[in-house]
Symmetry: C2
């Protein structure tokens, strides 16, 4: 949530000369995105977001992300559309950083999603999976099950200082997930980070999806499991069955879950919760002094795991035949 790189009017004017989007009217650094520097950009041609990729983003992944957004936007999905320069290439360089201009999307992130928001998110998620089905590039999910043990080792013995018994709980989850993690489920492009911050609404209507910088190739149902975690729980770990039911029903109104996906849902939800608990835990234990970004509480996901460990069937998440 910060502007890591200052961009002067002169540097930006020179950068914009590579594009056919009119002349500069205004730009403001916006406090959005943990990883990158973002500017709201207004030109004589319209409104845009200018993103400078800071060092946490692997520049080699950028063509995947940018091509994916172009592919999805071309199929009618409401997502930021990268603008190509006059040379036909979307990826540019500004102030020594990879940089891109995308279309500005109206919409507001909801802090506390309603049942209707959850249904709309389910519909949009299935639409994303469908729109991405003929995308030609792949990118491995480097935050899937194989990464969780090394992530936990990175946290080290300090884990128990965050919550007593956390190490023992995580070791138990890791053993189960390693043993039964489902393989061969229907897969394709998933968003993999569709938290409420990354979904825009205007009134009750979903107006767009943003921030594709964790997108990868993985099981569609795992994406749904991430969204169930992110949208259908209270911070104290309570699950809202009506929200889960609406999200799954919304998803299935566009793309019906197969039997193997239904069977796998509880373990996918447990894995998704562990994945976010672990990355948050590592960030929590490694806050640099004077950090601009407030780390998120890993224990919100430790509490969700209590629910997931007890869940026996997709019905527990609101799936209905």
């Amino acid at each position: 949530m910060a502007v890591y790189t200052e961009v002067s009017d002169e540097a930006l004017t020179a950068f914009l000369a590579q594009y056919e989007i009119g002349t500069l009217l205004s730009y403001k650094g916006i406090a959005e995105g943990v990883e990158n520097t973002n500017f709201f950009l207004h030109t004589t041609a319209g409104s845009y977001i200018l993103t400078l990729y800071e060092k946490r983003v692997n520049a080699g992944d950028l063509p995947f992300f940018l091509n994916l957004m172009q592919h999805l936007a071309a199929r009618g999905l409401a997502c930021p559309q990268p603008i190509a320069k006059r040379d036909g290439v979307a990826l540019g360089e500004l102030c020594g950083r990879p940089a891109v201009i995308v279309t500005f999307l109206d919409g507001v992130s909801v802090k506390r999603p309603t049942v209707d928001h959850c249904r709309a998110l389910g519909v949009a998620l299935a639409g994303l999976h469908r729109a991405g089905s003929d995308f030609g590039m792949t990118r491995a999910n480097n935050l899937s099950v194989e990464s969780w043990e090394p992530l936990f080792e990175a946290a080290g013995p300090a884990a128990d200082t965050v919550s007593e018994g956390l190490t023992e709980r995580v070791r138990g989850d890791l053993a189960v997930l390693r043993a039964v993690w489902p393989r061969g489920l229907p897969s394709g492009v998933i968003h993999a980070d569709l938290f409420t911050d990354n979904v825009f609404f205007i009134g009750d209507d979903l107006s767009g999806l943003i921030d594709f910088y964790f997108a990868c190739t993985d099981a569609f149902a795992y994406d749904l499991a991430i969204c169930l975690n992110a949208w259908c729980f209270e911070p104290d770990g309570r699950f809202f069955p009506d929200k889960g039911e609406a999200m799954i029903a919304g998803y299935q109104s566009v793309r019906r879950l197969q039997d193997d996906e239904v069977a796998a849902l509880p373990i996918l939800c447990r894995g998704a919760a562990l994945r976010f608990m672990l990355t948050r835990l590592v960030d929590w234990l490694n806050v640099p002094p004077g950090a601009l970004v407030q780390p998120k509480d890993p224990l919100e996901y430790d509490r969700r795991l209590v629910f997931h460990r007890a869940a026996a069937h997709a019905r527990d998440y609101g799936w209905r035949e």
Copy 2:
């Protein structure tokens, strides 16, 4: 340069219901303004800036600032115009803070102003002084000559750790300024902080003035002295005579300086430089750990003071008969 207060979609929607500016389409926290939290706001009626006043702003001063912006905008000055709620009052409350919505102004701040920019600024500054001449409220300048000695005492003996001999130089300036500070010059509303960040251009045309939160009642020529300091020097202390000449000529094309203002210009410039050196010095010596705001270098103004101490006449700043 930070968002100090998070505003939820629910809180903002409820706040906007007090206004007649349509419904919410989007809002983004923007990294602008050292003292306040600002959001870019887009509604079905247009674009706005939403400001939440944090504790460094004295809430008792807000009616002065808001009425002033309304007064100036009504006289055609390009500045943010506070939007009144349905009850006719511009000042509201959001998330426990005084809050206001103003019109969004296009334009870009120039980091390195040209001679033409300086001329345009002079024209706009005189236009501001003229437009404010029939404004009914007053506000004392609490950062004028009487405040400088207490400010310097607040810095204390640490001043010399910032630059050797700084204490001695400041004591010399204070003695001179106290003795000869001009009284009775033509006065009225001045901006008092018209640095390049607070002036917008579109191409070479000045498109607006922002950030009136240091505005007060003081000598017009002191405002010009602040601008000469802010726009016409290099950080190393070098003065650009052509920029000063253009700014003063631009100013005089709208409002001619009187003889007493011309005579006072060198001492006003010296005082203005000391004022910014001192507030920067205090901020520099009091950076809280983990601060979000990078303090500005006080020594840029210590170096300008070398020039001002040697200046004998307004001609040295580019004034021409």
